[in-house]
């Protein structure tokens, strides 16, 4: 595989860019693999990449029922941050953010990671207390956080509604400058190219339809493109985790819900950061093409449909207008839905399963994209060593049985409230 570099770009420019090799192979599947990862989204591809790179396992297949990166990897609002408070989440997401910072050079592929800063607004005294506590906790954990008052925010984001006679006046905010956005498609493509160059087989249009078990082990993965013998199996299928688990009679503390996201018509540069509303669920940033990318709550009812409903659109836009009134004249040009694997405590599950050679990577709720490299990194460690890394030890499946929730919001066991 040719390394991408300035010299290569110049060289190919002379041939009108006709001689670029394809970025990854389209291999015929083998009969047997040491590790089969199901789901060629960001998490699955990152897992395969780090398994090959860090743990020397090369006989890996990543199975994808549709096309690479066509699920939630291509359906999110591309926000990357690590502003968590609980230990189990904080250190894991911070590791992920550190991996993001070097991902483009590690993959030799520009994932357009832009550390433009993520600001969470606060609108009441109690919210100021809460973000102060969160910020202090983050700083004690060695993660960057800055508390801003209204004046400082006014300077960074003059387009917000700062009037005092509104229902939710802006009182302050918590800024994580190292947070930002990345180009989601480039993440999938870069990881696919890097994993493929290490010998990983990425097999698309290959839907898993069943498993064969011997004892407490999966021995065969049955797919629409034939049956594969396997050493170990990893699930990285986000919203489809529940469906896949039902094929081996595994019940999980997860519900699938639909989350919508939106893009407006393109504008001149206006929003330089990622901003979130504190009095409702709303987050917004501006893409490099100029469109405002935003989202809000899930639709609240169980769904495997990659489409949402109108009342939620109204709710999201209402929150957006309360925060940035000038959005009112904008047209939404595209909107879509993705299927979230909402866990019972709002935190992910990465680790071992009740089946000996099956590993779970699921329960990402709203926030799977930012975890992409970190998730792959710890999942690869867990699969290779048959035990979790210290970073994902607390994010195990048993925590639900033992009552050790990692519930960042304190919302209780209601998957649609996280």
């Amino acid at each position: 595989m040719a390394k991408y570099s300035i010299f290569n770009i110049i060289k190919n420019a002379f041939n009108e860019d006709k001689n670029w090799a394809r970025a990854w192979r389209d291999p015929e599947p083998k009969k047997s693999y040491d590790v089969i990862i199901i789901g060629a989204g960001g998490h699955g591809l990152a897992s395969a990449f780090y398994l090959a790179k860090n743990h020397g396992i090369r006989n890996i297949a990543v199975l994808e029922k549709g096309y690479l990166g066509g699920g939630n990897t291509g359906r999110n609002t591309t926000i990357v941050r690590s502003n968590y408070m609980l230990d189990e989440n904080a250190h894991f997401y911070e590791k992920s953010l550190q991996l993001w910072e070097q991902l483009s050079s590690e993959l030799n592929y520009n994932v357009m990671f832009s550390q433009r800063g993520v600001l969470n607004l606060a609108h009441t005294d109690s919210q100021i207390d809460a973000i102060t506590r969160r910020g202090n906790t983050m700083r004690l954990n060695g993660i960057d956080a800055e508390l801003l008052d209204e004046k400082q925010i006014r300077k960074l984001m003059p387009y917000l509604d700062f009037s005092n006679d509104v229902r939710f006046p802006i009182k302050g905010g918590l800024l994580q400058r190292r947070g930002g956005t990345a180009r989601h498609d480039a993440v999938a493509w870069g990881l696919a190219r890097a994993a493929d160059s290490l010998g990983v087989d990425i097999i698309q249009n290959c839907e898993v339809i069943g498993f064969e078990e011997t004892g407490n082990k999966i021995t065969v993965v049955k797919t629409s493109r034939g049956n594969f013998n396997c050493g170990k199996v990893g699930f990285a299928v986000a919203g489809n985790t529940g469906h896949l688990a039902s094929l081996i009679n595994l019940k999980l503390p997860i519900e699938s819900h639909v989350l919508q996201a939106f893009v407006s018509e393109p504008l001149k540069p206006m929003i330089d950061h990622v901003v979130t509303f504190g009095a409702g669920h709303f987050y917004i940033s501006q893409s490099d093409k100029g469109g405002l990318v935003f989202g809000g709550d899930i639709d609240m009812y169980n769904s495997y449909a990659q489409k949402g409903n109108l009342p939620l659109i109204e709710e999201v836009v209402t929150a957006g207008l309360a925060m940035i009134p000038s959005l009112s004249r904008l047209r939404i040009t595209r909107h879509w839905g993705g299927v979230m694997d909402m866990s019972m405590d709002g935190s992910p599950i990465i680790g071992k399963s009740p089946i000996d050679n099956l590993y779970l990577n699921c329960g990402w709720c709203y926030g799977g994209f930012k975890a992409t490299p970190g998730s792959g990194w710890v999942f690869a460690h867990t699969i290779a060593n048959d035990e979790p890394h210290s970073l994902n030890k607390g994010l195990n499946l048993e925590r639900f049985k033992k009552g050790r929730m990692v519930d960042e919001r304190g919302a209780g066991p209601f998957p649609n409230r996280h």
Binding site: G242, H243, S246, K251, P253, E255, N302, N309, F400, K401
Partner: protein
């Protein structure tokens, strides 16, 4: 938009309802701490089916009654609605016993 046929109020927009969740979970007896697995199953585990799902909605901005809904999670099509005690799957097949 989902139109939910409330057994008391008739067909209504789903914005009038609050989603409660999976209707197939049975709460263990109050005070029964002998079987942790039953509680674990009730509080945390879900079938999370891709297809037919029996679920509860509350008609919060209407009669405030709990309504059982049989809905396809892949298409959002609502197949049947009834009172919480109704077995909608049997009812759909015409098999429900008259008690």
């Amino acid at each position: 938009m989902l139109i939910i046929n409330c057994p008391l109020c008739g067909p209504r927009d789903h914005a009038e309802f609050t989603y409660v969740g999976d209707a197939t979970k049975n709460r263990p007896k109050n005070g029964d701490s002998s079987n942790d697995n039953a509680w674990y199953d009730f509080v945390y585990l879900r079938d999370n089916p891709k297809g037919l799902h029996e679920e509860l909605w509350q008609h919060s901005f209407g009669c405030r009654c709990f309504v059982k809904v049989l809905r396809n999670t892949l298409t959002h099509e609502i197949i049947a609605t009834g009172m919480p005690k109704d077995n909608l799957i049997l009812k759909e097949k015409g098999l429900e016993l008259n008690v």
